[in-house]
Structures are given as C-alpha cells and as structure tokens.
C-alpha cells in the first residue's frame, strides 16, 4: 500500500488527484460532479481506490474533500456568463441530447447533491440559483436557435 520510505501527506494526495485525475476532466463543473460522485450518500465520506492504495484512507478523504470545496468555490465565484459556458461544455461532454439534458437537470436538480458539505449556506444558495439561471439561458438559446436556425447553431452555444 504505502511506501514506508515515502512521506505520505494529504498534500501529496491532493496534488496527485489534481494531476492524474482532475486535469483530465475538461471543465470545473464536470470535476465537481465527479468529486461529488466519489462521496458516499449515506456517510458523506469520500472514496477513491487509486488514491486509497497510494496514500491511505485519511489522506485520500482529506484530499478529495479539499478538491471538492476548491472547485465549488471556483464555480461560485464565476460570473453567470462563464458558468453558462461551463454548463455548455458539460452538456456537450455528457453526450446527451441538450434538450433532454436541460429538462432532466431542471426537473431533478442533480446539482444539489454536488455541493460539498460544510460550506457557507449563502454560497450554496448562490451556486444553485446560478445553475438554475444557466440552465434557463441554455434553454432560451436553444429555443432561439431552433426558431432562427440560420442566425446561430447549437454547438457554439453549448460549448464555447
């Protein structure tokens, strides 16, 4: 498991997570969803086999939790326009039909469970509110592009 000669710290695990895993994910929103998916719904604990094998459970959990919060803070700090772009990229990489994706997200609001624990409640409110608005912007753009197909195409709108 851990190399006894190597100093194992949460920072190593954090950097490892950033370089090996998160850097391969194309946008912060996708990173947020990915990190939230490593968290157990019932216990709230994070799990990651690769990191666990190299750094042990505690360092792994601290690293995943820290990365989750960092990305969440970055997304909350984004202007609405940039968040719309993030969401557009996420829709594109999901490979779902944009209409279905937007509808599902508006109905189920899965982004609610992507929020890290123990963060400021106003930030949570702002994040969820901004996602709702970003979804509405995408929906509006999509309807607009359907109504005026020559004026714009869907791809640039969804994934700038």
């Amino acid at each position: 498991m851990n190399d006894p000669g190597k100093l194992v710290t949460p920072n190593n695990a954090y950097d490892d997570l950033q370089h090996r895993t998160l850097s391969g994910i194309p946008c912060d929103l996708a990173r947020l969803i990915y990190l939230a998916s490593t968290r157990d719904y019932n216990s709230g604990l994070y799990h990651h086999e690769g990191l666990f094998a190299r750094y042990g459970p505690e360092s792994t959990r601290v690293a995943l939790r820290a990365a989750h919060k960092d990305i969440f803070y970055r997304l909350v700090a984004l202007p609405l326009e940039e968040l719309v772009n993030e969401l557009g990229i996420y829709v594109r990489i999901s490979r779902e039909a944009p209409t279905g994706f937007i509808h599902t997200w508006q109905e189920l609001e899965p982004y609610r469970v992507a929020v890290p624990m123990e963060v400021d409640s106003t930030m949570v409110q702002l994040f969820q509110s901004n996602i709702r608005l970003a979804l509405e912007v995408l929906r509006f753009r999509q309807e607009h592009s359907r109504a005026y197909p020559s004026a714009s195409s869907l791809q640039p709108l969804l994934g700038r």
Partner: protein, 183 residues
C-alpha cells in the same frame, strides 16, 4: 428630494455595517484556518465576505441577462437574486444574534464587566437588527440590484475604515465566541 437623500444615505449606512460584519467574520475564519492548518491541507479559495456580496449584487450578471432580451429570463433572474440576497441578510442577522447570545452567557459568568462596552455592544446590536430589517424591506421593495452601486461604494468605505481602525481585536474576540465548533 430630501427624503430620497436620507433614504440613500441610510442604505449606504446599512450596507456598510453589514460589510464590516462580513469583514470581521473573514478575520475570524482566517484565524481559525491558521489554527487548523497542521491538521489538514484544505485550500481556502473561498470567496471573501465582501466578494460574495458583490457576486450576489453583480452588475455583470444583470447585464448578461439583459442582453438575452428574454422577459422570462429577466424575471427569473430578479427572483433568484432576490432570494439569495434575502438569505444572506437573514443569515447575517441570525449569526449576529447567536454571537450576542453567546456573549450574554459568557458575560453572566464574568466578574469584571465593562458597563460602557456592554452598552455600546447592545446599541450596535440593536442598530444592526434594525438595519437588517430595513435591508430586507429594501430588497423586497426595490429588488437586489438597486443596492449594487451602494454596495460597491460601501465596500470601498468599509475597506477605508478597516485600514483606519488601529485594532479590531475586541470585536474579533466577541465574534470568535459565535460558533466554537466551526472551523
């Protein structure tokens, strides 16, 4: 005309006070982070209190939504921001109430209370409660964006006052008793 000027001045004042509270909380959080640093590696890229306020009242976001030229989107935006702004005001008010409650409990056990400082604290608390109430009214009536320019101006003033104040340790001591378990 005169009443409008008074109203605007009052708006500036109340935002100023709220921004100062947010600033005190930042100092407290930074001190808490420093204490917890050896135990964990969590990065603190969190928005500072003032930045969060400006994010809520962002003019850039409003202009972006206006560019869409969708009345439905504009209505939704206004409603969403109103909800977040009200949440922030109520949370701030609630937190200060908790600080005062904790302080009152500590004060009961204290033998050498400074009556003057206590009276001043009580006055500030009542003032803040009133301001929060008015801020709620302001947001409900005029919407969150009427506050943007005032908030920006108040933010600048708040920083200026923060730099002018020689020491805010006493205020921080009171603030640090807010949530003993909070990192």
């Amino acid at each position: 005309m005169m009443s409008t000027a008074i109203f605007v001045a009052f708006g500036i004042l109340l935002i100023l006070v709220l921004l100062m509270i947010a600033r005190r909380k930042e100092v407290e959080e930074r001190e808490g982070d420093r204490a917890a640093a050896p135990a964990q590696c969590e990065r603190r890229n969190t928005l500072q209190g003032q930045e969060l306020v400006l994010r809520i009242f962002s003019r850039e976001d409003r202009e972006f939504v206006l560019q869409m030229r969708s009345p439905r989107l504009q209505r939704m935006y206004k409603e969403e921001r109103r909800k977040v702004a009200l949440h922030w005001v109520r949370k701030t008010s609630r937190e200060v109430r908790m600080i005062i409650r904790t302080h009152r409990l500590i004060s009961r056990l204290s033998r050498n209370l400074d009556a003057g400082a206590e009276a001043k604290l009580l006055w500030q608390y009542l003032e803040l409660r009133l301001i929060c109430g008015l801020l709620v009214l302001f947001i409900e009536t005029f919407g969150p964006h009427a506050l943007h320019d005032l908030a920006t101006y108040a933010g600048e003033l708040s920083q200026l006052i923060g730099r002018t104040l020689p020491d805010s340790a006493a205020a921080n001591r009171v603030a640090s008793s807010e949530n003993p378990g909070t990192p």
